[in-house]
Symmetry: C5
Subunit: 309 residues, 5 copies
């Protein structure tokens, strides 16, 4: 594995970090067709936990099998594959060394009753990540939830342990909480704030959802207007998120949510590229398509990130 | 102990697991009359905890004695015997090496008041399992309960410790919670989801109840219909559960609930076999019958799993 | 110390246990006038915690002194003396080696407000028991309380530690909870269930209260009737408790509650003996009498257990 | 340091305790003008935490300085000085070896809102006590509070650690809780019960407030009357407290509360002496007086305890 | 690094502390243009966490970059720079050795719903501080909150660990809670009480907000009047705070809150100097100004502290 200048420059931003973590960041940044470009596409498959197996996989039955996802990530030349403990373990031997993996260490689900606290269960450990040869752990936080302080403390502690053991940390930062309405959850200001919190907590890579041009918090709205922060286009909003992760000193990737047309996905990809984002994390839009369609779409995304489209 | 090709193929699915855990899985898969077939019958006796001694044992008084269950499991040629700490310890010397044992490490009970949280008490540890020569720990989760996130975190942690010490983990996945009605607890979609969660948490063997053809969650119902997932017969529903445990890469066994006629039990057994399930976990239907009847029924089940009936 | 055949047979039931625990059980079973008979009388003095010093000791002023109880247990030839940390520590040197001691490691009190959770405080540790030369720890659980799951987990953990260090565990199993009325707390079915739970949790000795012929839980009532379980006499009810502690494979002792006439105490003793119980645990009925009367009563109890009365 | 026969006899009561703890008890019992008499006067200065600095110190401005208190304890020939971490640390070097110190390890304050749980924050550790050369830790419990079970468990654990490291434990036992009214908090029965609980928890020295002749708990009132326990005079009530700490086998000191006239303080002192108490713990009545007055009053107290007044 | 007599005298007040902590205090007291004077100016940048990135940085866009703050602290000759984990780590290499750093280890945020507990998340550890070469940790407490007891216990524990590892502790003491209105949060009595609590908890440096002449607690008001404590001028109020931190034996610095005119900031600075405070901790008033203006203002503050203005 050789690291490009681009990758070396990115690694240089992780000033306080040890070589173990940097090596794992370099692995993900050097893997696949985007290797060396500073851009990444990550395949995350934890929707079975979140929505149940039938809602996630029945539209494309082969995707019930964990090997399907491993193989697609390898064949499409992606940067990494993320999943909970069970499915990661089900292919860890077969695909050892073929693709960097990310162990998702906490999860929610759709069986939870309305009264349940707005948080997730910690379902795996840093030592599991080590044992399975993973490059990173993935952890979801819900900024805005009354449980968020505990989530922050939990990931701060896991991040510390992971980094000490040379494992990188990716934070999925999803605004959600008692005082946030649906529009607020994807508002431009709230999304940038969520990205900022993840960076402050020490995330090596931040994952947020693409946002809307809505501004939710009155005080923030004033600041966006006074500071003339553009939010009109998706690229504008990506740019503000990039600036909010320590002025671009941290990697940030974006997800697009529920299934949609391939053209919409590619438009999103261009916006991420144009706003200076580091890439995409894309699950349902991959495995809920027939494999051939998904492979084509992924190649198109790669071409966009490489500036060929 | 020699492992058959069938067993070796099953073990191969546990890719990330260490030889200690695989050896214990092999012990259960190679024991008794179903040894080597990839099918299992497990005798679980924790009903005294759940329902009290009189409701569990008085209909067949010899079953008050823990040795009764050990002996029945041995004599009937079953795959393993599961129980809480006290009764397991009461026969651990006498039956050492005669039958693989599973330490049930959490338990609920019928004395709990309605206001009690919907969870179980952790009543034994991994080190107890080691000390008593057990092959696995058993842990119940209640997907759907507001306490379920804590239960998931607890078993994730115990599973990690158990596997590190070479002990397998069996998860009893029982949907139960504030927003689930009685029909929902045994619905086809909810049962498959519960099985999936157990597999994601890293269970080596998953135990669920046989389900009905009811579909409880509206979004899941849509997916079942769109994906044309059959739920009409018990075998259909078993099949969807098997697919939901990492496309059959994990062992899954089924329980049938309260006492019923032997013919019903045998019908269940055929459905499990036809749907591709790995076997039965059967308690009250064994020890609440006169011993001779129970032994006959177990032999019939074994014949069905072996394809002789 | 020589162990009798009777004691050796009892010890044999503790199949999974190490020689350290068995030695301490043997010490209690071999001590005093009942030594070697398989019967025990234990003096517990934790009423000062539960009810306050004046209500416990002022009727017999010398009993304010912890040495009073140590000396009575020694002089009366009892099997063991149980108390919280403070009083045990106040005589540990003077009476070292003269009588096996049991450290009561959790306690409730009468100053607690009604809103307090129905549980007890853990007030001493296994290492305290080791340091003070104790043979066992004593722990109270409240089956039926919404806090009981935590109590079960706590004692499971302390039992594990105690046994690993060669200390036996005695569980005081007292039904008490939000859905149990006064009659339910001492009902025959609930008492047997409480004894069963203690045995499942791994108690080496179980302590319950003598029960009434009331049957509290409807499902249990049906089972008692269907199974023709006699509950008319106290001996009947003791017998069902004995059967509920792993078919008599665990030691079980009974307490009688508040002060009463010596004849009533002796009637209780006969019922325990006739029902196959292993003895008495008797506190207020000892130290709230003038010493001479108490000594006489204890001798009468011993004679009953020895079959001389 | 030579210990008198009186001190040696007191130490003998701590039967189960190690020489490290006994040495520290001996240090406090041998210090100052009451050294060797079995009586103690302790200066506690944690009122700044409880009531704020202005209410505590502005009436006598030099008392804002922690050295003021250290110096007064030394100059007046007291037995020990007790304070929270900050002030103790501010004089630990200057006064090293000049006076035994007690680290107050938990504290409440007057800024807490009414909804706050009735408990205290643990604000220092046993290792802090070791590091600062302290002879004891001081811990407040609130018998009667719904939080008291947790407080009991916390001090049980800290006491265990402290004793293992040779540090003595002093429990401030202050009845306070949801079902206790103001009269109940200082009632004779409740105070004796609170002293008893502290002794049961293993306190080496118990601190309670002087009580009134009110009897608060109906059942206790009956026992006081049946047992003819005198509560009319302060000396009577002190006597019942002494009896309630393991029949006088534990040291018990008394506090008088808010500021009052020197004559009242001296009357209290005589009552403590006459009732057999082991001394006074007196804070605000010392440092809220001009130094000369306080020194005179302390000397008068010493004379009373020495039987000279 | 040479320490001045002034610094040596300050260090002497930390009597119980080890040379490691004293060295780190000396580093901050010897750094920059105020080095050796006993005065400090600290630049804290955690407003992004508290208010979000847009509200904090968009008014002066270069301040999105963590290096901006490091560089300003160095160029202005300040005493130290404080920030959360992420931004500190983003410049730890580049600025290693150029300026003492303080790791802010807990944080709140503006996305929290109203129902959230009034506390902060612990977001970094003492070992993070060691790893990043920090001189101190910073921790916020909310005296007055129902969560404050837990916050006190948490910082007591972190302080113990930090000090044992040679790291100093700075407590941000911000009154806030269920029974405190807006006026109460900045009242003279409450502020002095908050400073006192931080000192009692063992803080090496205390940070409070400048207060108003309002007196909030009735009992404290009486004491202020009886003790003739002046609160009319800001210098008066600073003086009472200084006295409340162990009679000036601890360092105390003051913050001024939201942005305001440079003249107001300089007036505050004079009041802190005249009241005997040890300096300023000033964030938004630095980085929300154009850099040149901020540099000029900081130089003016330094001149005031040096007695040149």
């Amino acid at each position: 594995m050789r690291t490009t200048k681009t990758v070396q420059n990115i690694l240089r931003n992780y000033e306080g970090e040890n070589p173990g973590v940097k090596t794992n960041l370099a692995r993900m940044l050097s893997e696949g067709k985007l290797g060396g470009t500073g851009k990444m596409i990550i395949l995350p498959v934890d929707q079975g936990f979140e929505h149940g197996p039938a809602r996630s996989f029945s539209v494309n039955a082969p995707s019930y099998d964990p090997h399907y996802h491993y193989q697609m990530a390898v064949d499409a030349g992606l940067s990494a594959y993320a999943a909970p403990l069970g499915p990661l373990e089900a292919g860890a031997d077969t695909f050892a060394g073929q693709i960097p993996t990310i162990l998702k260490v906490n999860s929610a689900n759709s069986l939870l009753p309305k009264v349940a606290p707005k948080t997730q269960a910690i379902t795996a450990s840093v030592d599991d990540a080590l044992r399975l040869g993973c490059s990173a752990i993935g952890f979801t936080i819900y900024p805005g939830s009354s449980q968020s302080l505990d989530m922050f403390s939990d990931i701060a502690e896991m991040r510390r342990e992971a980094a000490a053991k040379g494992i990188a940390t990716i934070i999925w930062s999803y605004p959600r909480g008692e005082d946030l309405d649906k529009d607020g959850e994807t508002a431009a200001d709230v999304t940038a704030y969520a990205a900022h919190i993840a960076a402050l907590l020490g995330a090596h890579i931040i994952k947020v959802k693409l946002s809307t041009d809505h501004l939710s918090q009155p005080e923030a709205k004033k600041a966006f207007e006074a500071g003339q922060i553009a939010v009109k286009t998706q690229a504008d909003r990506v740019r503000e998120c990039v600036r909010s992760v320590l002025n671009g000193r941290r990697l940030i990737v974006f997800s697009g949510g529920a299934s949609k047309g391939a053209n919409d996905v590619l438009d999103d990809t261009r916006a991420i590229r144009d706003g200076g984002g580091n890439g995409s994390i894309i699950g349902r839009n991959c495995f809920q398509r027939p494999r051939a369609e998904a492979m084509k779409m992924l190649q198109d995304m790669i071409d966009i990130y490489k500036g060929k489209a």
